[in-house]
């Protein structure tokens, strides 16, 4: 799928989203409604025009760009890492999740040696604790309720 087609699909998605938001805004009282309702209607109209214009442009084009499938795969892999880290924070809490994430990521992706990985992780934990005290920072405890260094 070319970038143009993806862009058309994304705009169509925005059109549907703005229509739904306009419908939702219609349920608000008058004073709360006027701004989001008219913005959503205007945005839906622009999205609709944009879909038509992009479709015309796409039809005119004869050559399609080659997809960078390899890069896309890599991106999906790293999105998985990022989202996985978020899920870990939700389950284990910030500190245990961070320690686990750094140990695994630095070993697997960054190709650090074991000792460098352990030292780097310890350093990050130390800096986090220091900054938490100096700047009054907080982090989530997680659904398991593990409270490490907090």
């Amino acid at each position: 799928m070319s970038k143009e087609v993806k862009s058309i699909l994304f705009t169509a998605f925005l059109f549907i989203l703005f229509c739904l938001m306009a419908l939702e805004a219609n349920t608000f009282t008058d004073k709360a409604k006027f701004f989001p309702f008219f913005v959503a209607i205007g945005a839906a109209f622009i999205a609709f025009v944009s879909v038509i214009l992009q479709t015309f442009e796409h039809v005119k084009k004869t050559k399609e760009e080659e997809e960078e499938a390899v890069e896309m795969k890599k991106m999906l892999k790293y999105i998985f890492w990022f989202v996985g880290y978020g899920v870990l924070i939700y389950v284990l809490g910030f500190m245990p999740a961070t320690i686990l994430f750094l140990l695994v990521f630095l070993l697997v992706e960054s190709k650090f040696r074991v000792m460098t990985t352990i030292l780097s992780t310890a350093l990050v934990v130390g800096v986090l604790i220091l900054f938490a005290n100096v700047m009054n920072l907080y982090w989530p405890a997680g659904v398991l309720g593990i409270t490490l260094f907090s």
Partner: protein, 492 residues
């Protein structure tokens, strides 16, 4: 005013605040020298940490970061031939050839010296503009403030380059995201779906982090950005400084131009950089050596890009008009610190505005000094591969996003907006308009509502409103003209 300025200097130099300014400077230099990361990312990372700080300290950190960004971005431009940020593209034209010829030290010396002088001139321009703008700012009522918000929103077209329709659409997404939470005119919650986290609206810091930082991190990793070859730090630093002093009028001219162009909202660092380079080349008699390693090709753009920051703060601080993603976040930062851009910043909170001027000046001096003294070590940082740096940055991003409201919603929102930002980046959709729409959403709705309640439709005929309407049209036309001029210089 002078007395207030010295009072502000003593506030900035308070030993309790100086470390935060240095923290901002360090992060600004780091962000600048890592190709792929912009000032918007730096500002988004720092924003959640200013929550709860006193306004002077918070501003010292944010402005310290923004002030030196274009000092740090010179390293990759000259040593690697890769722009550290969009504002240092033109520096490559002559800086990189100079480095190849063994004059990296000379080019960097000139660049840092000019960045410092340019930054100071930018600060002076901001200082001078305060008393000039004060009577104007204080005369504004809600209709004029609404028009100023519209002026800020109209910048989305300029920021969108060749795709103004997409920019407009993205700006409207920002407006709608800004409408989430309590309505300003009536006690009613909108688009919250009974989720308590959304009752106070979406936190700006999380939106900014997700929109800008998340996609950059993923792309850095996916492209495995690491640079194989760097030019050596040869050549005399002093020679570069001497060259700059010899071209003092060029520095002054370029810095003044940079400040003035920075004042026009929507004109980014890359535009200022290329226009200054083009004008420097045009106004030089023996311009054949440009592009082959002429030191004047480094002096011109480097003087302008730091000076631009001072100019860009004038519409942001005095008129609440953010002209870029970075200044949009700064505007949000002011709200987090309990401040309001516009009339208050030239009246009750004048000490904050003056401390911003001082921070701008001092950060440029300290930033340039750090670059010259620690250049050997700083230059090495730009060679760290993404896979070795990003995991640590991700931890910082997670901590930062959680500080906004200290609920799990922050982390979910960070991931959600991050994915939206990634899709937009991959599809070449502009992202800065979303942030501008988001930041201005509440103000636009509030001032429109007050104007309509108070004046009906007659506010549209007020002289201030008409003048601002004309200015909006002129600025949009001017912005497009400057962009086109910059593109021509780029191709030439």
């Amino acid at each position: 005013m002078i007395e207030s300025a010295f009072e502000a200097l003593s506030i900035v130099l308070d030993p309790g605040r100086i470390p935060f300014m240095f923290l901002g400077i360090s992060i600004g230099l780091l962000i600048g020298l890592l190709p792929g990361l912009s000032g918007t990312v730096g500002m988004a990372i720092l924003l959640p940490f200013v929550y709860g700080m006193d306004p002077h300290t918070g501003m010292a950190m944010l402005i310290g970061m923004a002030a030196v960004l274009h000092t740090g971005d010179t390293f990759p431009s000259i040593l690697l031939g890769v722009p550290g940020s969009s504002g240092s593209q033109a520096t490559i034209m002559d800086g990189y050839p100079l480095a190849k010829q063994g004059g990296a030290g000379r080019a960097l010396g000139a660049a840092f010296f000019c960045s410092m002088i340019g930054g100071i001139i930018g600060g002076v321009v901001l200082f001078i503009s305060i008393p000039l703008a004060k009577p104007l700012v204080l005369a504004f009522g809600s209709p004029e403030l609404f028009m100023l918000a519209i002026l800020g929103l109209s910048m989305v077209g300029i920021l969108s380059g060749n795709t103004p329709l997409r920019g407009l659409l993205v700006g409207m997404i920002g407006l709608m995201l800004g409408a989430v939470g309590g309505a300003p005119a009536v006690a009613e919650y909108r688009y919250t779906f009974e989720w308590v986290y959304l009752f106070n609206g979406l936190p700006l810091a999380v939106v900014a982090l997700g929109l800008f930082a998340f996609p950059e991190m993923i792309e850095l990793l996916a492209k495995k950005q690491s640079i194989a070859k760097t030019e050596e730090l040869k050549g005399s630093w002093m020679q570069g400084i001497k060259d700059s002093i010899k071209n003092k009028w060029l520095i002054l001219r370029s810095a003044s131009m940079g400040s003035l162009m920075g004042f026009v909202p929507g004109v980014g660092g890359s535009v200022v950089d290329w226009i200054t380079y083009g004008i420097t080349k045009q106004m030089t008699k023996d311009s054949e050596s440009f592009g082959k390693g002429d030191i004047r090709g480094v002096i011109g753009p480097e003087s302008a890009n730091n000076a631009k920051e001072g100019g860009a703060l004038i519409p942001t601080l005095l008129f609440s008009i953010p002209g870029s993603g970075t200044t949009a976040i700064l505007l949000g930062g002011l709200s987090l610190l309990g401040l309001q851009a516009g009339p208050r910043l030239v009246n009750e909170d004048i000490s904050i505005t003056l401390s911003i001027v001082w921070t701008l000046v001092l950060a440029n001096i300290f930033g340039a000094a750090a670059c010259i003294l620690l250049s050997k070590y700083i230059a090495k940082l730009s060679l760290i591969p993404a896979t070795k740096l990003v995991p640590f940055l991700l931890v910082v991003l997670m901590v930062a996003s959680y500080q906004s409201s200290r609920q799990f919603g922050d982390i979910f929102l960070f991931a959600g907006i991050g994915l939206l930002g990634l899709i937009m980046k991959r599809l070449d959709w502009p992202r800065a308009p979303l942030l501008i729409g988001f930041v201005l959403s509440q103000a636009t709705e509030r001032y429109l509502w007050i104007s309509m309640e108070r004046y009906g439709f007659s506010w549209l005929l007020q002289p201030g409103v008409i003048i601002l309407g004309v200015i909006i049209i002129a600025l949009i036309a001017g912005g497009y003209y400057l962009k086109r001029t910059s593109e021509k210089s780029n191709f030439a």
